[in-house]
């Protein structure tokens, strides 16, 4: 049985790192929003292209560290319908190829017919600010208040993007199977039991 795991997250909560590490623990690929956006922007939707690339190929061509993307997220209202549709197709293609973790891009809603397990990752404000400050790229010297403004704007954009697909609000726990508060904890340490929980969730012991 394919395990499709989606990760939605607040900016600075470590959700992207969690998705990547969880995928590593489960030995399945992780596709994050940067990968999906990059393919959509550079290649459009070419089923053959998407089917024949691996997560590793993409990362080799476009190295990403576990951290944040600090370049400003495009305002979702400016995203063309064509790009959004292309991203959806890419997400579905990845999910059809087998078990995977998909971070962001409303994959939980886009893939709902495939019954993914949907995680939401969040944290309190001091933890998020601290995580962002630690991982701020060189040359970007935001003050705490500028960082806070940026965090809020990115989360607002994510919520608005989700609003294009569903009425269930971004971050509303009813839309997820597990909501994980990472405040004050290293993501790495939470992964082994989380991977066990996810594996158990996919076994056939439903009521």
């Amino acid at each position: 049985m394919n395990k499709i795991i989606t990760v939605s997250r607040e900016f600075g909560s470590g959700g992207r790192e969690l998705g990547k590490r969880l995928a590593d623990a489960l030995e399945i690929p992780c596709y994050d929003h940067e990968i999906i956006e990059m393919i959509a922007d550079h290649h459009g939707f070419d089923k053959n292209y998407v089917a024949h690339i691996s997560e590793k190929d993409i990362r080799a061509a476009y190295p990403l560290t576990i951290g944040h993307r600090f370049t400003p997220a495009p305002l979702v209202i400016n995203m063309s319908v064509q790009v959004a549709v292309t991203q959806q197709k890419i997400i579905k293609q990845f999910a059809n190829q087998g078990s995977c973790v998909i971070v962001g891009r409303c994959a939980d809603v886009i893939l709902c017919e495939m019954h993914p397990m949907n995680l939401f990752v969040y944290a309190d404000q001091p933890s998020k600010l601290s995580r962002c400050a630690q991982r701020m790229p060189e040359g970007e010297n935001l003050s705490p208040s500028e960082l806070l403004r940026k965090m809020r704007q990115i989360d607002k954009d994510r919520a608005a993007y989700r609003g294009l697909f569903t009425d269930i609000s971004w971050g509303q726990k009813e839309g997820y199977h597990l909501c994980i508060n990472t405040s004050g904890h290293e993501i790495k340490s939470l992964i082994p039991p989380l991977a066990e929980y996810v594996s158990q969730w996919f076994t056939k012991n439903t009521v």
Copy 2:
């Protein structure tokens, strides 16, 4: 280090069962709202009494099965301040005695200075209705709509009771460290990885 775990839950989500099974897996006692209410009603707050009873003594005197309490919850607005204060003292006394799971009674807020790990257990409506219908006591034949009304009333009472202690709403994920959606799953099957997660959460690997 003491592990204090609190469980808040929607009626019918299996939160009480989850708390009991989690405590068994961690080999620590579980105190649920029935135990706390029973002591408060029958004994008031007697530090010596509370310190010298074990969860097993209470269960021997007042057997509880893993299930629901279907007798109507008292409307919280009718709970005397004296009883609420007594319950709080009993909860603190239990937590001071060592690691334990406490289900309900706003233990997460009452014990916040002891840094408990706070879980919230929830489920979708069909799952909750199905669980309640399966466990309805003999002689109680509620129709689905009556059951739904009862479920909603009990959750409303829980939210109102919480409102006496804190501004963070009942069920708002920010107030909890892990929110667990049990829809369509056997509680029993989720316990082993959950117990691992909880144990890991208490280890010293904070950031």
